[in-house]
Amino acid sequence: MSVALSAVDISRALTRIAHEILERNGGPDSIVLMGIPTRGAFLASRLANSIASIEGREVRVGTLDITLHRDDLRLRPLRALVPTMTPLGGIEGRNVILVDDVLFSGRTIRAALDALGEIGRPKSVQLAALVDRGHRELPIRADYVGKNLPTSKAQSVKVHLSEIDGVDEVLVETTEG
């Protein structure tokens, strides 16, 4: 088990992503950050705080539960639903930025795109991920990446955030057998 990103690395990466988001979208007004629970939701609110401190203005932020749109529901034990919270004003005509912790197969993001369609029709959808570990199974890429972590499929990437895990770090574990 090795530490791929420390607390300082995570903080720097998020600050950079915040700047990139602002640069690409020309300020915070057209943006809606939608975090994918559990950890993506915390990352989205951190990005929102970061953007607010850079611009001195609030940015819209919400959460998007994708469980009902997953294509692997029958393959795994039942998952509980998490509330979806759409910010005031909705996502209609806005630039939605999906925020997740780890980008892996891309299936979560496919489900998220479907889940967004249920709320409204955004002007564009972009993707921010703290870690991109490769091994995509679908034609999906991230617009903003905290760190590219080349991994093998036998490894697992664990993101820990202080909001629920008590500590900020990204670990890479090699599972035995």
Binding site: L73, L78, P83
Partner: protein, 316 residues
């Protein structure tokens, strides 16, 4: 848990999980696109040996919003009217590949019988069995009360709910008594002595024969339908007398607390157990109960059917 047969089978955590899931389903039902791919490819059979409009349609709407395929079976105009048994009907449906059977039957315990048999491998959901239970109705009632009086979260501790009318024949009452108790609400049964079942004094409820004395105490009143089709005996002298003592009318409306709710599982006998004025008053949540019914049934179908088949779709 693979089946939903009775609210008495539910744990506190399971009941809350169903209500929390229903809240998310309600959000989707209010959105612009009322359709989810969640149960695509699953087949759900509505097996109704007794007449029903709202329960069957509600389950059908719930299943369709989750993209399941729905087959409706009603005893009228089917081989059941030629004398086919529950067993043969269930095995036929099994052969067609039903993932869940929603059963309504006039015999108490029919859903339990089907679930414990090997006639079908799917989940069994009790949509009313005789005078025994109707669990999804109780769940939607609890959901409605929670939404109005508890801001949509938590349990029902501290609330008092009166269930008024034909308790004896009511599966809705039995399911509600279990569930309301589980969620911490106080239940008062109000009915003429002839319509209170034997042994009810051992239930975790208070019993009253005086509606006027009870109404000022309650946060919600559930008016039960007078089930004329089950009234083979004389339980009260006349409909007018019943209405006089146990009907909810405009005078009784004035006795109720300001924010209290008027509920009815439907279909209503307007003018008998409830006057049109009460049913249509601002406190009435009767139509909302119907709306919430779809969300609650979506939650139940999701929790029972969405998980890996062999792991049985654990509610918890």
């Amino acid at each position: 848990m693979r089946h939903l047969l009775s609210t008495a089978d539910l744990s506190y955590a399971q009941a809350n999980k169903i209500l929390d899931t229903a809240k998310e389903m309600a959000r989707i039902s209010e959105g612009p696109v009322k359709k989810l791919p969640t149960l695509r490819g699953r087949t759900i059979v509505n097996l109704f040996f007794e007449d029903s409009t709202r329960t069957r349609i509600s389950f059908e709407a719930a299943a369709k919003r989750l993209s399941a395929d729905v087959i409706n079976f009603s005893a009228k105009g089917s081989s059941a009217s030629k004398g086919e048994s529950l067993k043969d009907t269930a095995q036929t449906l099994q052969a067609m590949g039903a993932d869940a059977v929603i059963l309504r039957h006039s015999a108490s315990g029919a859903a339990q019988r089907l679930a414990s048999s090997h006639w079908t491998t799917g989940s069994v959901i009790n949509a009313g069995d005789g005078t025994h239970e109707h669990p999804t109705q109780a769940l939607l009632d609890a959901f409605t009360i929670r939404k109005h009086l508890r801001g949509g979260t938590g349990d029902l501790r501290g609330l008092t709910v009166a269930i008024v009318g034909d308790i004896l024949h009511s599966r809705v009452a039995r399911s509600n008594i279990h569930l309301l108790n589980l969620l911490g609400a106080q239940v008062i049964l109000v009915a003429p002595p002839t319509l209170i079942p034997l042994g009810a004094e051992k239930w975790p409820v208070q019993i009253s024969y005086d509606l006027d004395a009870v109404l000022p105490l309650v946060d919600a009143v559930m008016m039960l339908r007078v089930q004329q089709e089950r009234m083979n005996d004389f339980f009260f002298p006349t409909a007018r007398e019943y209405s006089h003592y146990y009907g909810l009318n405009s005078d009784r409306l004035k006795l109720m607390k300001p924010n209290s709710l008027i509920m009815h599982p439907g279909p209503m006998n307007r003018g008998l157990e409830i006057t049109a004025e009460s049913a249509d008053s601002a406190r009435s949540v009767i139509l909302e109960q119907v709306t919430n019914g779809v969300s609650v049934r979506m939650a139940v179908l999701y929790l029972l059917l969405a998980g890996a088949p062999n792991e049985g779709g654990d509610l918890i």
